[in-house]
Amino acid sequence: MEFEPLTQGFRHIGAVLRGEPKPVDDCVRRWSVGTTVLYVALTVLGTAVYGAAMGWWRSPLQACFTAIKFPLIILLTTLGNGLLNGMLAPLLGINLSFRQSLQAILMSFMISGAILGSVSPVIFYLVWNAPQMTAHATGVYAFIQLTQVVVVAFAGVVANLRLEQLLQRVSGSATISRRVLYAWLAGNLFLGSQLSWILRPFIGSPEMRVEFLRKTAFDGNFYETVFRALRHLFSP
């Protein structure tokens, strides 16, 4: 009997992953604490395990740090943009409350967390098989970095596809749903990239100490660095 909520939660997650319309629409329309906790728990678990896999190559300590930082980025982005996303939805044509917007976004992060968590054994295995991280292993470093990017991008694309399907059903219009999705994405990417910049490193570097945050974490921002890099590229 005490496993029933667990079984129901498991079944609900399966329904969300499959994109079944009714369970997904119901959980967003009828907001509940239990569902929110479930989404947050699975997001944290999946991204923490994946973060550990990311950081393991540098050292077990880096794995612990990244396991904390990766879920932190997701949660801080969701909360930081919660008000904004809640306001953008009705402004752009979908009548969702703040809680419903938050639930929808948490649902999409839960999907990406589930994907990342399920792929984390493969990433652990990849890292375990990789030669030790050294200053000279630039080729292997690039390969692992690229693999992480592809996996995270895949999880993000799938999660956003499901979110777009949900928004389309709620709004009844593909144009409005895409407008809201792109607005949410723009805000989340903008805040998320800066949070990633502050909370670096994730994979780590053999030439630098393993630390939770770099000493220069709050010096400068992601977009300044990109701008400087572009300027250097085009006018060295």
Binding site: G14, L17, R18, G19, A114, I115, G117, S118, V119, P121, V122, F124, Y125, L126, W128, N129, A130, P131, Q132, V158
Partner: protein
């Protein structure tokens, strides 16, 4: 009627009903399957609904009546069948490992079977969570235990087919001294056996209402890569070395390892030619 069974009654001419071979297994073509389109619903035929008992029954079923295995996996409590399939996979991989070990002899007679069996199980465990998630993303209604059952079926079919290749592998291993050649041969046999196993897996997912196979196909690529990397992580399996497993400082990806083997083989061939 299907491409693989042009006889609409399903019975092979010349084989009386009820005899082995009378009703060959019908596996729908891959890539053209839809949940309710090309292949009939599982359990329509009484033969498919017969329970599978024991290891021998499971081997017969996985080879001749794969739909019966899929039906039994959907029934309540498929634990017995899954256990039998896993036992088949482990036993057959151990036996094939002994054949692989006969090339080098000595400690490889026990090391090769252990590495092959353990490597196969670990590769499967690594890839299992992602298979469940990717199958859900494709719309499949399969529960985790059913996915596990399909994977057990994949492993059982793959390893039973490897036993079929075992006499051929043994003959070659007794008639060549080239580790490289034997490695290629075993990989080729493994690939052919895996293709049949994956056909069973994909056919199984059609009966769980999968709307899209894209996720499972991505998983297939991941599984193949993980398994091939496992052969490098657990080397040597065909040849011999001073240690059971490679040192931590000797870790490499399987592509690098294969390139190193090709270079070594090329040098060997060149040196042999020069010596003559």
């Amino acid at each position: 009627m299907s491409d693989q069974n042009p006889n609409p009654s399903g019975q092979v001419p010349g084989f009386p009903a009820g005899t082995p071979g009378a009703n060959p297994p019908v596996i729908p073509p891959i890539g053209q399957m839809t949940p309710t389109g090309n292949s009939p619903t599982l359990g329509v035929s009484p033969a498919e609904r017969a329970p599978i008992s024991g290891v021998v029954g499971a081997i017969e079923a996985i080879l001749r009546q794969p739909r019966r295995v899929m039906f039994c996996l959907k029934e309540p409590n498929p634990g017995g069948l899954i256990t039998a399939l896993l036992a088949i996979a482990i036993t057959c991989s151990l036996v094939y490992g002994i054949i692989v070990g006969t090339f080098s002899g000595a400690e490889q007679l026990w090391a090769a079977p252990v590495k092959i069996a353990v490597g196969l199980m670990i590769s499967t465990l690594i890839c299992l969570p992602s298979l469940y998630i990717f199958s859900c993303l494709g719309g499949s209604q399969a529960r985790l235990v059913e996915v596990f059952g399909l994977v057990a079926g994949l492993l059982a079919l793959m390893t039973v087919l490897l036993i079929g290749f075992a006499p051929v592998a043994w003959v070659f291993s007794q008639s060549t001294k080239s580790v490289f050649a034997m490695g290629i041969l075993h990989l080729a046999f493994w690939l052919v056996a895996t293709i049949f196993g994956l056909r069973f897996l994909l056919a199984g997912f059609t009966h769980f209402n999968a709307k899209s196979f894209a996720g499972v196909q991505v998983w297939v690529v991941v599984f193949l890569l993980v398994a091939m990397q496992m052969t490098t992580a657990l080397r040597p399996i065909v040849g011999r070395a001073n240690s059971f497993l490679p040192a931590a400082s000797d870790k490499k990806f399987f592509v690098n390892h294969w390139m190193d083997c090709i270079d070594a083989e090329t040098n060997n061939v060149r040196q042999s030619a020069e010596a003559r």
